[in-house]
Structures are given as C-alpha cells and as structure tokens.
C-alpha cells in the first residue's frame, strides 16, 4: 500500500529508517534505476540498517544517513528532485515543510503514525502546501482453513484445563428435503483468532502544483 506510487527510477526519501523494512520494499520498487535515501537519528540504527542492506544486496539502491530530520529537515541537495517522501516519525509535522521543498511538482508524501493526534496535527500542517490529503487505516485479516464438518471447532487453545466437558458430536438425522444443498464442504475458512488490530494510520498528500 505504501509503495503503490513508487515505480522503477524514482528518487525517494525516507525518515526514520527504523528496522529498514519499508526501506527494503522501497528499494525493490525503485530498482533498477532509482535511489532511496533514508535517514535515522540513531547512529547505531543507521549502521545496522546499512549492514543489512549490504547483506541483502540492496546497497547500490539505498543510502543511509544519520540525521535528525525533525530538527534539521532533509538535506538541501535534494530540493525539488524527489518523487516521494516517506515519514515514520513521532512528530511528522516538524518534517513536513522540508519534505514539501524536496518534492517535485505533484510529488507524493506519505506519513505513518500510530496515533490519531499525530494524524490530526500532520493533516493540519499539510493543508498549507499539499492537496489530496487522505488518511487510511490498513488492516490485514488472516484466515485459517480446516477440514471437516463441524469438527475441531474447540479445544485447541493450548490449555488442557477443561474445555467444555461435553465433547460428543451429535447430528440430527439428515432429512431428505429435496431442495437441500449439500451440507458442508470439506474445507472451511475462519478468521484467525488474534489479529493485529492496529499498526497505524497512513496519510497521503500530493504537493500542490505551482
């Protein structure tokens, strides 16, 4: 979802680098001719990400810098050259004015924030130079597939302390209604019990055309 506007050849900025997982998918998206510049405040984290990119063969596509983008903004050298900027910062609104300067006309900014207040503050800041400001929450629900009719719907919680005493399976005599469709297929899907209920909000915005 995040990388949907990033295509081969793009010049992309990111801050912060974090674990480098978004960086990786951005690098794969801009390959073979694009470039990703990613910045993190933490020297250690930047170094470790740099090592990872060496190991995964992405270092020709990714440059990792140590920089407090919230405080200093992005390096001036990228001014007006950038296709997309990705922010994953605690106070993204501090970096938005600089991000705006970096972007080409019609360039896209994407900011990821876990809390709605960050989204509110960022959207407020975005309104002065950006348009098409849209916020999404993206969730992924996964399903388990099990075989059988009415089987094993209980009792694999991992505790043996007494699931329902009544474990028998009873079936009413199958009627012979001529209309009836077949009762159950042998593979049935059901949502997995625990899901990641929230990771964050994605706010997209497009630089206004001047």
């Amino acid at each position: 979802m995040k990388a949907v506007k990033v295509v081969p050849g793009c010049l992309v900025l990111e801050s912060g680098t974090g674990s480098g997982s978004l960086t990786t998918s951005l690098a794969r998206a801009v390959a073979p001719t694009g470039q990703v510049y990613t910045f993190d405040f933490h020297e250690q984290r930047a170094a470790s990400a740099r090592e990872d990119f060496e190991r995964t063969g992405l270092s020709s596509l990714v440059t990792v810098g140590v920089r407090d983008v919230q405080g200093e903004g992005f390096p001036e050298e990228f001014c007006g050259l950038v296709d997309s900027v990705f922010l994953d910062l605690p106070q993204p609104w501090l970096a938005i004015p600089s991000a705006g300067k970096m972007l080409k006309q019609d360039g896209i900014l994407c900011s990821f924030s876990p809390c709605i207040e960050q989204v509110q503050h960022s959207s407020e800041t975005l309104r002065s130079n950006f348009t098409d400001i849209r916020t999404f929450e993206v969730l992924l629900r996964t399903y388990e597939v099990r075989e059988g009719k009415m089987d094993s719907s209980q009792g694999d919680e991992g505790d043996s302390l007494g699931s329902l005493p009544c474990k028998r399976r009873q079936r009413l005599s199958e009627g012979s209604n001529q209309h009836e469709t077949s009762s159950s297929p042998t593979a049935m899907a059901k949502p997995s019990g625990e899901a990641r209920g929230h990771t964050g909000y994605l706010t997209f915005a497009r630089l206004k055309c001047f």
């Binding site: 405040f41 933490h42 605690p90 106070q91 876990p114 809390c115 709605i116 207040e117 960050q118 503050h121 929450e137 629900r141 009719k149 009415m150 719907s153 209980q154 009792g155 694999d156 919680e157 505790d159 302390l161 007494g162 699931s163 329902l164 005493p165 009544c166 028998r168 399976r169 009873q170 079936r171 009413l172 005599s173 199958e174 009627g175 209604n177 209309h179 009836e180 469709t181 077949s182 009762s183 159950s184 297929p185 049935m188 899907a189 059901k190 949502p191 997995s192 019990g193 625990e194 899901a195 990641r196 209920g197 929230h198 990771t199 964050g200 909000y201």
Partner: protein
C-alpha cells in the same frame, strides 16, 4: 427440589456483596480475572501469598482493594476514593500534549536500581506499605528521572502491581462474565464475544415475557444472558439432543434470584417435538429419566461447586495474557451454595411444555459449535410461533450460508441475513489515541431471520 430453603436473596442489596455471593475479581487492572464465591473461608492467592476474601464481604461492587501486610499476614484492605483519586490524577498529569522527551539518550540496564531484594524484604519486615516500597524503588532508581513521563508511568505501574497489587470487585453479569471468558478461555464459550452475544439477544428480540428456545452449547453463557434479560418473566427453555443436557455451569456465576432461576428450564428436544396432540404419557415417561439425569448432573456440580474448578495458579504479575481462574471456597458453606444453584435448569412442567406446543416459542437462539446449523434449524424452527425471530451463531460462515440457502429454498423464513459483528476497542489518552494494537479479529457469524409458514414443513396448528 424444595423451593423454600433459605430464600433470603431478595433481601440482598444487589449493589453490595453478601456472604455467599459470586464475584468477579479483577486483579491488577485485568492482568488476572478470577470468579469467586465470597465466604468466610474462601481465599485468593496473589503472588505467593494467600489472603482471605472475607474482607470483601459487605462492600459495594466496584470497590477497589489493595494487598497489604496486616498484623496476621497479608490482607486485602479497601483503597479509599481519595487515594485512588490521587493515583489516577497523577496518571493523567503524566500525559503531556506533545511528548518532548524521547528515549534517545537512555540506556536501560539492570544496574539502575540500587535497592536490593534484601533491602525490600527488610522494609517489609519493618511494616512498610506497598506504596512506600514503590516510592523507595523510584527514589533509588538512577534512570527514573531520565525516562519519558510515559516510561515513568510504566515503571511505576509495574512496581505497584508487584508490591501493592490491587483487586477490583466486580459484579458478574452477562457482559462481565462473557468478557472474562472470552479473554482467557474463549473456547469454553464457543468464542462468543460480548457483542455477538448481545446481538443474538437483540436479533431474537428477547424481552420480558418472551418464551425463548435456546440451544446452548457454550457453557451456559447464552442461557444466563437470556435469563438476565428476562428478569424473572417468561422462560428460557434450554433444549438438547440425546439424553444428557448440555452443561450450563456458567449460569451459576450470575447471582440469579430464585425468581430468575425458576425461569431457566431444561427440556430434551424429544419432549418438545412429541406429537403436537400431546400424548402426555410419553412426556411423563421421558421426564422421569431426565429428572434422574439432571439430578446426577447436579451432584457433580455440587462436588465441584463451580463449573470449571481450576486450581489457583501462580501468575507472573507482569503477565499480559491475563488469567481467568475460577476459585472455590476451601471450606464450603453448602447451604448458601445450594440456595444459589439448585433452581436453574429444572425440567419444564408438562403444562408449560403443552403451552409451548400450542403457541410456539417466541424466539429461538442457537449457539452450538458442534451441531450442523441446517439440520438443527430444520428441527427447531417448527417449534416457533409464526413471525417469531431466530438467531444462530456459528464460528464458520459456511454452515450458515448453507443453512440460509436451504431456508430460502424451503421458503421457511424471511428477512434472512448473515451478519458479522466487529468490535474495536480504542485507547483514548491525550496524544496517544488509537485502536488497540491487539484485537479479537473474530466475533463469529450470526444468521438471523423470521419464521414463516411453509408448506414443506410440519406445521404448528
């Protein structure tokens, strides 16, 4: 069973605990959840300490207690609103608008705390309260001041949970019971989440004076919730296939009055289905068998006293899983227990059954993960009055889809719909509002509709 044994429950103020009442204990803000019956002899193990639950008797539900070192060992004493107020106020003050500190400069390791385990034991011996120990730990932490307010709060809460654990006294209700089960033992209630349960009741239009037919293979939570909603009017008729009623031990966790318990009956499906023209002999003979069955069932419950007798477990206080334990009084007070538990689930009387046969039930709710939806519905739908609503819960959508399709083909019902409830809980805190990171992605599916007259099916007159 005699109906007049110690019928004092109508004298209870339902907002204040009484001896013998069932309670839900919420330990350390949801870390552990324990159902218990309050008696002079019942105890609760917190950490490695056993403490009596007697001090909880006579206090309003909603009261908060804290574990302190009493003169006779650990004991629970009530946290006064004033103290609690301060405690919460601090919590709020910690939240500043836009967090300015961050964890950049902080290196956290285990050398930061200069107070040793021995020092703490010594403080305890000298009679320090849990709060005092927490304060001492903060004062002796080298890193506390450098932490963000958020981390400070987390640190303090962690220590408070360990050295001054709190117990919140909660009233068992359909909502609190199903939430507690869903959190820890969801399979025991067929993964029926509180909002799905609530939706079942409202889709089946359960209201005072309803005669509700239920198939409850979810431990009794459905039966209990319907009975709570009926409030001593109408009937919840818990029906079952075969000879043995389905266990409904959860009903006993509700503090139901005898008025309500009398409205909970169990009846084998065969009795409800026997020829509409009421051959009472047949019913009578079946009834005898079932009476014996249900009595032997009661004996089992009696010796176990609560449905799932789980031995107390030592629980790491930092546990995020939460714990649902069902504790039992060590020295039982059988009279009170009997008074609370004998009434629910008796056989329906012949007269009542005949009335149902004549008028039909006013609604049907099925929560039976082990039964095939369509074959069950096919049997039970004819027992409803015309235009009676029904609601069927299932974990899988496919059996409900098949069932819905067959009901449509057979023109047995209208207004058919499969719904899936979604429940998202939010953390709402200044500058920190978002949906919970973990959630139950799954509340199951509900097929609902209204019975109509169908030529293909056996009809009620």
């Amino acid at each position: 069973m005699s109906q007049n044994k110690l019928q004092k429950d109508s004298n209870h103020n339902p907002r204040v605990t009484w001896e013998g009442c069932s309670v839900l204990l919420d330990i350390n803000d949801g870390d552990r959840l324990v159902f218990a019956r309050l008696t002079a002899a019942s105890t609760l193990k917190i950490g490695n300490k056993n403490c009596s639950l007697q001090p909880l008797i006579g206090y309003p539900f909603g009261s908060l207690f804290q574990l302190e070192n009493g003169t006779k060992g650990p004991c629970l004493s009530r946290v006064l609103p004033a103290t609690e107020g301060n405690y919460l106020q601090e919590k709020v003050d910690f939240q500043i608008k836009d967090e300015s500190k961050d964890n950049r400069a902080l290196v956290d390791n285990n050398t930061a705390q200069s107070l040793t385990g021995e020092d703490i034991d010594e403080m305890r011996r000298q009679g320090a309260t849990g709060d005092e120990i927490v304060e001492a730990l903060i004062a002796n932490s080298a890193t506390f001041e450098k932490k963000t307010s958020f981390s400070q709060e987390k640190y303090k809460l962690k220590k408070q949970k360990k050295y001054a654990p709190r117990v919140l006294l909660r009233r068992p209700s359909a909502r609190s019971i199903s939430e507690a089960y869903f959190k820890k033992y969801p399979a025991r209630i067929g993964f029926l989440r509180v909002d799905s349960l609530s939706l079942l009741l409202s889709m089946a239009n359960v209201t005072a004076h309803s005669d509700v037919l239920v198939v409850d293979m979810v431990g009794g939570i459905l039966t209990g919730a319907v009975a709570e909603r009926l409030g001593g009017t109408g009937y919840v008729c818990n029906t079952y296939l075969g000879l043995d009623p389905y266990p409904m031990g959860i009903v006993r966790i509700f503090n139901f009055s005898n008025e309500i318990c009398k409205r909970i009956v169990q009846t084998p499906l065969t009795d409800l289905r026997s020829a509409q023209n009421g051959t009472s002999v047949q019913i009578g003979s079946r009834e005898d068998i079932c009476n014996i069955k249900s009595q032997s069932n009661e004996e089992i419950s009696s010796s176990n006293s609560l449905p799932h007798t789980v031995s107390m477990e030592e629980t790491a206080l930092s546990s995020e899983n939460g714990m649902l334990d069902l504790i039992t009084e060590t020295a039982a007070s059988p009279v009170i227990r009997a008074c609370k538990t004998t009434k629910a689930g008796e056989k329906a009387s012949k007269e009542t059954i005949n009335l149902w046969k004549e008028n039909g039930f006013s609604s049907l709710i099925i929560a039976a993960p082990d039964l095939d939806a369509w074959s069950t519905v096919k049997e039970l739908l004819p027992l409803l009055s015309f235009s009676a609503p029904f609601a069927i819960y299932h974990q899988y959508i496919q059996p409900l889809a098949t069932c819905m399709h067959n009901l449509q083909l057979g023109k047995m019902a209208i207004g058919l719909q499969i719904s899936e409830p979604w429940l998202r809980e939010y953390q709402v805190l200044p500058s920190r509002t978002h949906p919970h990171m973990q959630m139950s992605a799954f509340g199951g599916y509900i097929l609902s509709g209204t019975r109509i007259c169908s030529s293909d099916q056996p009809q009620l007159k």
